[in-house]
Symmetry: C2
C-alpha cells in the first residue's frame, strides 16, 4: 500500500532509541530500503548508503519514511523542510506521528502538485468498537515491557518467525507505527480515542479457531506514568493467554522521564499478570526478552541466565540468541527447568 | 458559554443510568432548566415540566441538551430528528457524544441557516501535553469507582460543596460531558487520544499552592474491561493524595457487560491505591460513597455502616446523608474511628 523501495530518515537525531521506526524497517524490511538520509549533526547510521534526496530518488526510492519520533509525536521545522525536499524529488512521504502530514499546508500542496501521496500511519481506523472483555477463542500472546522502546516489537516479530519455523501458524499484530509499516497492517493503539483502547485490540485480534497464535505487539509500560493507560487497555483487549516480558538492562531511567527508575522485572511481570487476569483469568508468563546489544556476548548470556534463574522462566535476547527456550515454554509448558544459580 | 436556560432531552430512553447528563443538569443546575423533552416510549422523568420543542422555545429555552448516552456515545436517527426540530424552533443544541453534532450534515445546515450553535462538549482541547508524573504541589482528591456511572460525579460535586461549607477552598475538576456542562469547564478524558490521558489530567489540575483541594471527577473503573485504560491514566495524571471510592450497591453486573460481576469494595480500593502509588506514593483512601437511592432510609444507613466497619473508613450516601464523616477524615485523618460490627 505504501510504495517501496523506502528511503529511511534519521534527520539530525542523536537519539538511538528515537529512530526506532527507521531502524525497524532497516532490520525487518532491509531488501526494500535503498538508503538512509541524515544531516551531519546525526552520529547515527543504519548501515545503509547515505544518500541525498536526489540520489535516493535516482536510486529508485518511492517513499521517504520519517522514521524518527519524540514522545508525543511532534514534528519539527527541519523535518518538514526535508519532507518538502523529498516531495520535490518525486517521492511520497510516510510518517507515524500524531500530527498529520496532510495537515501541514506546505506538504499537502507539494503532494497535490506532484501527484504524490502523504501516508499518516498513526491514523486509527474509523468506527472502532468499545471493548467488552467477553471471552473469545484463539491463542494470543502479548509482549509487555518495563518501559517504552525496550524491544517489544522486535520480540514479537522474532517470535512470530520462530513459531512459523516450528510449523505453527502465527501472525504478528502491529499496534505501533513501526510495526504497521513493517507488517502493512495494524492499529496505532496510542492514537485511538481513549474510550476505544481495548476495543481496538479486540478488533485487531478477533477470535481464531485454528491452533495458531496471534503475537500482539505491546506498547508502553504499566510503570510509565505517561502511557500506562494504553498498556492497561491493551492488556484487557488482548485477552492473552501468554505474556512475554521485554526489558533493556542498559536503560537507567524510564524513557523521557528524568529521575524515574524502572520497575523490578518480577514486580513488573506480576503487575501485568494481575491486570491481564481481568479478561484472561488463566494468563501466564512464558519468558523474558532482553536487549543485550550493549553487552558483549558472554555478559549477554550471563544476564539472561541470571534473569532466568531469578524468575524461573526462559530468558533470551531474541536478536542474538534466538527464541527456542521461549517457544518451548509457550508450546509445551511443562518442559522448562530453570537454571540453578549454581549452574550459572 | 453554552446559552441557558436549558431544555433537557430524555428521548425514548428507558435507561435511568443512561440519562445521567440530563439528570445531572436537573440536579445541579436546576434553576437553569425550563423543562424536559421525552417521547411516550420513555417512562423516565426528571420532575421538570414535559414540553414540546415549540413550548420550550416559547418558555425561553436557549439550548436543547442531548443529555442521554449509550456506551461509545452513539447517536441515533430519532435523536437527530429531534435535534433538527429544536434547531427549527430556534434553539442551540449541545451534546457530549463521541460523534460530533457538526459532522451531521442536516444539523450543521439547520444551525447555519438559523444562526444557531452546535456544542460538542466531548471534544478535547488541542495541544494536550504528554503526562510526566513529576511531583507537583497541591491537594488533590480523585473519585474512583467499582463501575461506570456509580456516582463519581455526584460525590465529587457534593464534596466540593461540603469543603466550601467548611471554609476550605475547593474546585470541582470535570472529566466527563455532564461534569463539563455543569461546571462550564473541564477535559473530556475519555475522548482524548490515548497517549494523552494522564497529560490531560495533569493539565486540568496544575500545581496549586494554597491549602485548597482539587476534587477530580473519576471515570470508568479499573475493573471495567472497556474503559480501565482511561481510569489508569486518570489515576496517574491526578497524582492524588486522597481517593474516594464510589459504588452502587444495586448494580448487579458491570455497566453494559452482561455476566460480569462487580469487584469487591476492598479489592477495588486496593487496586486503585496500587496504581495511584506510581505517581503518588503516599496516597490514601478517605472514604466510600454509596448510591442508596434504591433502598429505604434505614437500609441505606445500615449498608453504609456495614461498609464502614468492613473497610475501616467513613461511608455515606452523599446525596442523602451528607459528607461530614468523609470531610473529617480528609482534613483530620486521625479522627475517624470505624464503627464496630457490634454497634451496627
Amino acid at each position: 500500500m505504501i510504495p517501496s523501495p523506502y528511503f529511511l530518515y534519521l534527520g539530525s537525531s542523536d537519539d538511538s532509541v528515537g529512530i526506532k521506526t527507521s531502524r525497524g524497517l532497516a532490520e525487518f524490511r532491509r531488501a526494500d530500503c535503498v538508503g538512509e538520509f541524515r544531516h551531519d549533526a546525526s552520529p547515527l547510521t543504519l548501515g545503509l548508503p547515505r544518500l541525498t534526496m536526489a540520489e535516493a530518488a535516482a536510486a529508485g526510492a518511492r517513499t521517504l519514511v520519517l522514521g524518527i519520533a519524540k514522545a508525543g509525536g511532534a514534528i519539527g521545522e527541519e523535518m518538514i523542510a526535508d519532507a518538502a525536499e523529498a516531495l520535490r524529488n518525486g517521492m511520497n512521504v510516510a510518517a507515524g506521528l500524531h500530527r498529520r502530514l496532510r495537515d501541514i499546508p506546505e506538504l499537502a500542496a507539494l503532494a497535490r502538485e506532484g501527484g504524490l501521496q502523504l501516508f499518516d500511519v498513526r491514523e486509527p481506523p474509523a468506527d472502532l468498537p468499545i471493548g467488552t472483555g467477553y471471552a473469545r477463542p484463539g491463542n494470543r500472546l502479548l509482549t509487555v515491557g518495563t518501559d517504552c522502546s525496550v524491544g517489544k516489537m522486535y520480540a514479537s516479530l522474532a517470535l512470530t518467525q520462530a513459531l512459523r519455523e516450528r510449523g505453527v501458524a502465527a501472525d504478528f499484530r502491529a499496534t505501533g507505527q513501526t510495526g504497521i509499516l513493517i507488517a502493512g497492517a495494524g492499529v496505532p493503539v496510542d492514537a485511538v480515542v481513549a474510550d476505544f483502547i481495548s476495543g481496538a485490540i479486540e478488533a485487531l485480534t478477533p477470535a481464531r479457531d485454528d491452533e495458531g497464535w496471534d503475537v500482539i505487539e505491546g506498547q508502553g509500560s504499566l510503570f510509565h506514568p505517561s502511557f500506562a493507560g494504553v498498556s492497561t487497555g491493551l492488556l484487557h483487549g488482548a485477552q492473552a493467554s501468554a505474556l512475554l516480558l521485554c526489558h533493556d538492562p542498559a536503560r537507567e531511567t524510564m524513557r523521557g522521564l528524568a529521575g524515574r527508575s524502572l520497575p523490578e522485572l518480577g514486580q513488573c511481570l506480576e503487575a501485568n499478570l494481575r491486570v491481564a487476569r481481568l479478561t484472561s483469568p488463566d494468563v501466564r508468563a512464558v519468558g523474558v526478552c532482553l536487549n543485550t546489544s550493549t553487552l558483549d556476548e558472554s555478559a549477554g548470556l550471563a544476564i539472561c541466565a541470571e534473569v532466568s534463574a531469578t524468575l524461573g522462566l526462559p530468558c533470551t535476547d531474541p536478536m542474538r540468541f534466538g527464541l527456542d527456550t521461549i517457544v518451548d515454554e509457550l508450546l509445551c509448558p511443562a518442559n522448562f527447568t530453570p537454571a540453578t544459580t549454581a549452574s550459572l
